[in-house]
Point group: C2
Chain length 152, copies 2
Amino acid sequence: MRKSELNRFLDQAQAMCDERGVRLTAQRREVLGIIHAAGQPIGAYEILERMRQGGRKPAPPTVYRALEFLLQEHLIHKLETLHAYVACSHPDHPHASQFLICSQCGEVDELESAGLDGTLSDLARTRGFRPQSHTVEVSGTCAECAQGKSAG
Amino acid sequence: MRKSELNRFLDQAQAMCDERGVRLTAQRREVLGIIHAAGQPIGAYEILERMRQGGRKPAPPTVYRALEFLLQEHLIHKLETLHAYVACSHPDHPHASQFLICSQCGEVDELESAGLDGTLSDLARTRGFRPQSHTVEVSGTCAECAQGKSAG
DNA sequence: CGACACCTGATAGACTGTTACATTATTCGG
DNA sequence: CCGAATAATGTAACAGTCTATCAGGTGTCG
Ligand SMILES: [Zn+2]
Ligand SMILES: [Zn+2]
Ligand SMILES: [Zn+2]
Ligand SMILES: [Zn+2]
């Protein structure tokens, strides 16, 4: 069963929040679980939909508040080009958003490239620009989809 | 007067569209002019607002259709993190979207870094990913704003 | 003129996200 | 434990961004 993997993920998040003195409440944990379980970028209203399957009727602010918290704690990222959210693949330390997004199957691959970070910082500094955060989203075809296409 | 600069920009765009066999109609030209004249990222509804100052009452689809055309022809870019549009600073050849965005004054600086392009392509290829387009938006403080702040 | 492609106008609606205020839950000092 | 302060949640209404759809106009070509 794969549920234990999800639980490990959530427990790790819980432990991190405990350390930081912030509260991963049941609701926030549920939203984080839905995002992680989706395995793909998922929109706020789709999350809302899945929360409603438990009988409750949360409204948009509920999910947006949870998303705001999870973003602050670097447990999820927002994909600006998709208006969707994904679980962070290495939430133990803050970092910028760097993604490969397959336009065919929707899979995303989170990068964490110090080289890319450095290239961007250098570029910025040559312009006298002081960077604070960055968003990198590469759209294209993932390995699996490319293979399937060329083989087919 | 600065109007001649705007006209040169628009005439250049016109020439490029003529070459490509596409039509930079009066309406598209007007939208492109408004975006260029703004000098900063401008939202679709702000464009709409300015178009209405001529007495006409265009509706959202009007401006979105023009924006779609201008994006296709690489005459403008969309800033995904701002939901806003800017004129391309070197529209003579297609290229990916790379921007430094000052969060204080709103100025944007369009990069065109082959090095960044290469770094991204290399990163993608090590994952078997075939990139098609990318969006890079760095948020921070521009040189002027940083200077004003440190001096003040 | 008629047929066709393209552009435009206009209504309505979908999707994404926010404001404002009332209510409930949790924490903490006494 | 009690009560005040703080944090989190519930609820309704709304704002911002973008799209679907249908109808009408313009221009070219034969
Ligand atoms: Zn991450
Ligand atoms: Zn794929
Ligand atoms: Zn450009
Ligand atoms: Zn600035």
